[in-house]
């Protein structure tokens, strides 16, 4: 085929992870370039994503695609094997709805709950719990959001199911717990246990200290502001 596929990412970024998991699910080989996003972003990254200057960037035959959700749609449309979005327009719209919900409400609020100062934490935590409850309802008794197999909603929900769970461990929070959200908790276990997911997730023992450092930084920056 002679296709050139590259991912500019960051090993601990949940957004970057989405792009990689999607390519792995499709069985597409790619070259991974880890960007030093907290230090020095490469000239190539700034060239391929001049507007947002962020990872992930997917480079396909020299053409850049940016923004993780745009990348996921592109991968789905370009490589037709192992589809992760439903064919039916209504079901597709429903999947896209939950993806937007996770990306704009669920994940950011859960992250905020992890590092918010004490006086704001209760309010944010309550909001986060409401979002988790709503997200759980989207599972509706299925094993994965995509049904029997992982779909695009599951790929995006990895931010919550894995990255947030790791974050919670550090902060001693227990938001996504088995007793509060049994279905969602089970989903996060099943998801992380899929072989393709297991072998591609950033390892917990590396992620834990990294997230700890990141939270400390956020708290510090917030205290200064």
């Amino acid at each position: 085929m002679g296709e050139e596929v590259k991912v500019f990412g960051y090993w601990a970024s949940p957004y970057s992870y989405r792009a990689e998991l999607a390519l792995k699910l499709k069985g597409v080989s790619y070259e991974y370039i880890n960007e030093d996003i907290f230090g020095n972003k490469s000239d190539l990254l700034l060239k391929y994503n001049p507007i947002h200057k962020k990872v992930p960037v997917l480079l396909h035959n020299g053409k850049p695609i940016v923004e993780s959700l745009v990348i996921l749609e592109y991968i789905e449309e370009t490589w037709k094997q192992n589809p992760y979005l439903p064919q039916d327009p209504y079901d597709k719209a429903t999947a896209r709805f939950w993806i937007k919900f996770i990306d704009e409400k669920c994940f950011p609020t859960l992250w905020l709950a992890a590092w918010s100062p004490e006086n704001e934490r209760e309010k944010v935590t309550n909001e986060a719990c409401e979002y988790l409850k709503t997200l759980e309802s989207a599972l509706n008794g299925k094993k994965f959001f995509g049904g029997e197999t992982i779909g695009m909603v599951d790929i995006v929900a990895s931010s919550v199911g894995y990255f947030i769970r790791v974050t919670q461990e550090i902060m001693g929070l227990n938001l996504l717990s088995a007793d509060k959200f049994p279905q969602l908790f089970q989903w996060s276990e099943d998801f992380a246990n899929c072989s393709i997911v297991k072998e591609s997730l950033p390892p917990r023992d590396k992620l834990l200290p990294f997230v700890k450092g990141l939270i400390a930084k956020y708290q510090q920056d917030n205290a200064k502001a």
């Binding site: 053409k63 695609i65 959700l69 749609e73 719209a93 896209r96 937007k100």
Partner: protein
């Protein structure tokens, strides 16, 4: 047939305008129901329990929510006429990227330009002009964002043309002086019936936004 499609609508919502434009481009007949956002209908609360917001497209009794998701749904269901998204995945990705840019930049920053005051407003104004220039750069010499045809990005952005008078008045700047090609693009879009019939008058929108601003300031 027309009672198969219902749009839960609000006259000044740029997001609802996107859906009206898409439906008009496809020549789809539908029933528009104007919501009173201070007293939301039970239908709205039932059809969009998560966000309780308009627009909601109800097709054969099933709701589709979120304006850009609705526009894509319309494009996919009525695919035989006036395609809004291009066919090639790379161009589709580009269209989605710029629609997302409108949502991430133009909408929130624009809100601050007409809604905030002082330093916050000043900073927002600078950022808005910068963002509009970026959009102008992307437009280039093309008649529309997709190229020769009116498409997804145009649908995403043109409703914010109804904010131009408000932005210029509150921010005390001229959009045409900063972004003449963008204004030319907007006027070109307004020549399409699907757009001109879907967008309310800018001054009406200004009065509405100023009422909203007063309410927020009172709180």
């Amino acid at each position: 047939m027309s009672d198969e499609i219902i749009l839960l609508d609000f006259w000044s919502s740029p997001f609802a305008m996107r859906v009206r434009i898409a439906l008009a481009e496809k020549g789809i007949e539908y029933e528009a129901r104007e919501e009173d956002l201070s007293n939301k209908s039970s239908l709205l609360l039932k059809m969009n329990p998560v966000h309780k917001q308009i627009p909601v497209l109800i097709h054969k009794g099933r709701p589709v929510c979120e304006s850009l998701i609705i526009v894509q749904y319309i494009d996919e269901v009525w695919s035989h006429k006036s395609p809004l998204l291009p066919s090639h995945p790379y161009h589709r990705a580009n269209a989605r990227f710029w629609a997302d840019f409108v949502d991430k930049k133009i909408y929130p920053i624009g809100k601050l330009v007409w809604g905030a005051t002082g330093e916050v407003q000043e900073a927002a104004k600078k950022e808005l002009i910068e963002s509009m220039k970026v959009l102008e750069g992307e437009l280039g010499d093309n008649p529309y964002f997709g190229g020769e045809s009116f498409g997804f990005t145009d649908v995403a952005l043109i409703p914010f043309y109804t904010w131009f008078y408000s932005l210029e008045t509150c921010g005390d700047f001229s959009i045409i002086a900063n972004c003449p090609n963008l204004v030319a693009w907007a006027k070109r879009c307004m020549q399409r019936e699907s757009v001109s019939k879907s967008l309310p008058d800018q001054y009406k929108v200004y009065c509405f936004l100023m009422e909203l601003k007063k309410k927020f300031e009172a709180k």
